[in-house]
Symmetry: C2
Subunit: 512 residues, 2 copies
């Protein structure tokens, strides 16, 4: 017990060269074993019932080209009703060619991801027509707020891919994809998002990625440089732009994330099991279309299932049903062996305790479910009708804490800390032990917006809620924002293409 005698005197100066804890949560792996809400038998039954639904009831597929692909492979197609009945052998063949691991490329190689089971990615609130912040209130999404939200997203490593955070409604629909791609490429070096709003928008967006990063056609197809979200029209329908999205992205070797939005009790059966059967059937149909288009095309399973609120009729998020649906989705994804996306998010109208709670429930359920990607992880208010700036900052605290928790926990002898134990007398403290001095700079997660000061200090500082404090945080991020090296000269590289495309009438989104 040398340390008892000499410990306090022989102490060295702390190692000031250690940097404070980094928030570089880039390539993350799930820390937990996946959990179950259903027995394995029930999952197998749900898979079988989904296959039966596809083969006996069928899917309504609005795009003739997609029906032709199904028909050519042996599905029973009725063009008058647009119904396609898909046999289990077609689904099995698709699951056999769909890759279980997808290389998701990024302008910054440090942000590249393996999109595969076990990986843990997060993306921010997406698809929001409005924004809410404490300075400007609630307003329609515009290019400025789209760019601002991209800057916020770019500034947190724990958000791994971009998304349509706030819809730039001040840009006309036929030119919007130019603006959205230009903004992504000029502000961020993370994997990019492309809306499935017609073939031409997709192909032009891909051209912009190639131009922006100087990629040859082969390089653009070496892994996936972008992704698109494919929402089915539950129940049992795939509309024209979504089918075009599946086909065009598959042909270009780019990732689609299949996402039925199955609201139990509304567009899906009211039971957790029933809503999942429908989700599974729809996802399998879309995955099959992708693989019929191009075997081996990067496509992922997904779901965003929750329940309707029986009082208001609105979608609810972060509910017990949402959590069970998420964990069940993870079981179904593992059953077919594909990576998959989940979603968190909040129905709250503001960044309050309710909103925080709803998002935590979704995030934690996604951890239980080992979701490859959790969409709407930060900033999603009103069930997606608004992107909240203060909400984003508060949710990022949660996402970063989960990312930090996913980091390995040292368990070597030095970490067990015998010397520290022996160094401190009963009733004493560890503040000044060598064990503490060696580690204190890097030991703990440093909060973004949480305030741990005592009541007196907190009152003196204005009794601010974390939502009020978040205003300074996002304003500081926007004020200090510097684009990544990959964005240098981006506007010049894209200008001619965008100018010509604009002159030629842009690309109006596909209807129906």
């Amino acid at each position: 017990m040398m340390s008892l005698r000499t410990g306090r005197r022989a102490r060295q100066a702390p190692d000031t060269s250690t940097p404070p804890r980094s928030h570089a949560y880039r390539q993350m792996r799930h820390p937990f074993e996946p959990q179950r809400v259903f027995s394995d038998d029930a999952i197998a039954n749900m898979h079988q019932m989904a296959l039966r639904a596809l083969s006996e009831l069928g899917m309504k597929i609005l795009l003739p080209e997609a029906r032709k692909l199904f028909g050519g492979a042996g599905a029973l197609v009725d063009d008058s009703s647009q119904m396609v009945r898909i046999g289990p052998e077609l689904v099995a063949a698709a699951l056999a060619t769909a890759p279980s691991s997808i290389r998701l490329r990024a302008p910054n190689p440090e942000r590249e991801q393996w999109f595969e089971p076990g990986a843990m990615l997060f993306s921010a609130g997406a698809g929001c027509p409005n924004t809410i912040d404490a300075v400007r209130g609630r307003q329609a999404g515009c290019l400025q707020t789209f760019e601002e939200t991209l800057k916020l997203v770019q500034s947190f490593d724990a958000i791994h891919i971009l998304g349509p955070s706030a819809e730039p409604q001040d840009v006309p629909p036929h030119l919007r994809h130019y603006a959205m791609m230009q903004a992504q490429l000029s502000i961020s070096d993370k994997p990019t998002f492309i809306y499935a709003r017609g073939k031409k928008q997709i192909s032009q967006s891909l051209e912009m990625i190639a131009l922006g990063h100087g990629l040859s056609d082969d390089e653009l197809r070496n892994g996936s440089w972008s992704y698109s979200i494919i929402n089915t029209n539950s129940p049992r329908q795939i509309d024209v732009p979504m089918a075009e999205g599946i086909i065009e992205m598959a042909r270009a070797g780019q990732m689609t994330i299949i996402t039925p939005f199955c609201l139990a009790g509304a567009m899906a059966p009211i039971t957790v099991a029933g809503a999942l059967v429908l989700q599974h059937a729809e996802a399998l149909a879309a995955i099959t279309l992708s693989q019929l288009t191009a075997p081996g095309a990067p496509v992922t399973y997904g779901g965003f299932a929750s329940n309707v609120d029986m009082k208001s009729g609105s979608p609810a998020f972060g509910t017990p049903s949402h959590m069970k649906l998420t964990i069940g989705s993870g079981q179904l994804a593992r059953h077919i062996g594909l990576p998959w996306r989940s979603a968190a998010g909040s129905a709250s109208n503001t960044s309050d305790a309710q909103g925080a709670g709803e998002n935590h429930m979704g995030l934690w359920a996604a951890l239980q479910a080992n979701a490859t990607l959790t969409v709407h992880s930060a900033g999603w208010l009103e069930g997606g009708l608004s992107f909240g700036y203060e909400k984003f900052i508060n949710d990022m605290e949660a996402v970063q804490q989960l990312a930090e928790m996913a980091m390995p926990t040292p368990e070597d002898q030095a970490s067990l800390g015998w010397d520290a134990l022996a160094d401190v007398d009963p009733g004493g403290h560890f503040f000044a032990t060598q064990h503490t001095m060696d580690r204190y700079r890097d030991a703990f997660y440093a909060p973004v917006v949480a305030d741990l000061s005592n009541h007196g200090a907190w009152v003196e500082a204005g009794s601010q809620t974390s939502t009020e404090r978040a205003v300074d945080v996002w304003q500081g991020i926007l004020r200090d924002f510097a684009p990544p090296p990959s964005a240098a000269g981006m506007a010049d590289r894209l200008k001619a293409f965008v100018d010509e495309g604009t002159k030629a009438g842009g690309a109006p989104p596909t209807e129906g």
Copy 2:
């Protein structure tokens, strides 16, 4: 496919006899497999190092009677330094007699609990010297607020046992145990809490339980009708009242919950592993004292370990370190095979997004860790310096949602819902299918304070945060509160005892 033809017409009227979803979350079991942050080898190493700490470094035990118990069993006792060195064989013998399952009795048999691995109990924020509510602000705890918080606790089935929610500081310390026990017995029918503030307070509290419920001495010892929390004075010290609590409760056959409060970087080593070694050593020492007093006495493992905030020096809660410490504690509890207590809670000064987030992290970590009991699950602000009324309501939403999630998920054929799937055309909805009509009343969790209305309706209703809405909720609960049947005539049954005890000078708390 009869349903396709006849489904819409043949529909029956909904079954209005089904009651809406009940919130009777009484005897809960953990829904998830326990998770790990450490390898099994590391856990075994930590257990060994804790044993080594007890045997080589020892514990400072301030109560002579406790040292005598240790000494009598073969521990090395030095009365001048009050140090007790405890050999591994003593610990092993204690772990062999400590019960792994404890029957926790309640005046209402429906609230009885088996306190054992796999069970999932929650208790409210405890030990708070102050209360915070929107009407009265922050004030010192008093008998009125203690009684109010008991009424709130009694009103939620998902809070399974009572605790010292708000400290009644307006009652003199030597009489406070009378008031606290009278309040518990008169307001609630859940298992009761006894402070470890000296032998006389404990024995008198037990007498009041026996008087209040008409229990013979044998009946009082048939299972545990109460429990006490035993906090060690980390590092490596057990003070007089705590040692008296262990001994007195063990002799009376009542449950003690051993709870070292190991704040990593302050009263414990700064590493997760090191803090857990210290916690484990202290808990094993206290468990050993309990079993030396009365082999087979109900005693549970526990820990409440988090990290100090390096900026303010304050305890932090709901942090990544807190979560890892919780999950690691669960591993250690399983290693020794005992039920155990964890804790959630919040360091926030108010019921905001930060406070909600911190508590969610603690609650979810406790689920990952399969904690038998999670203390401070609702209402704990400022790291326990205040019990927040609005915080309690918002946290109860989370606790109830987790309880609801822990309920089994139907996976029978009817739940899979083939008929519903076949009943609804592509692009249609399930609102009016028989499958929905049969289930809608009971399908989903009904929120306590969450508001799922849309933005317009929310603004019209005053743009209230969930914390603002919670005021109405707790006021309504207090207004409508009715004591349980077991409380009828309670004051009469206790009066003589309390009057005599008061006249005789009460029972001043033990010092030191």
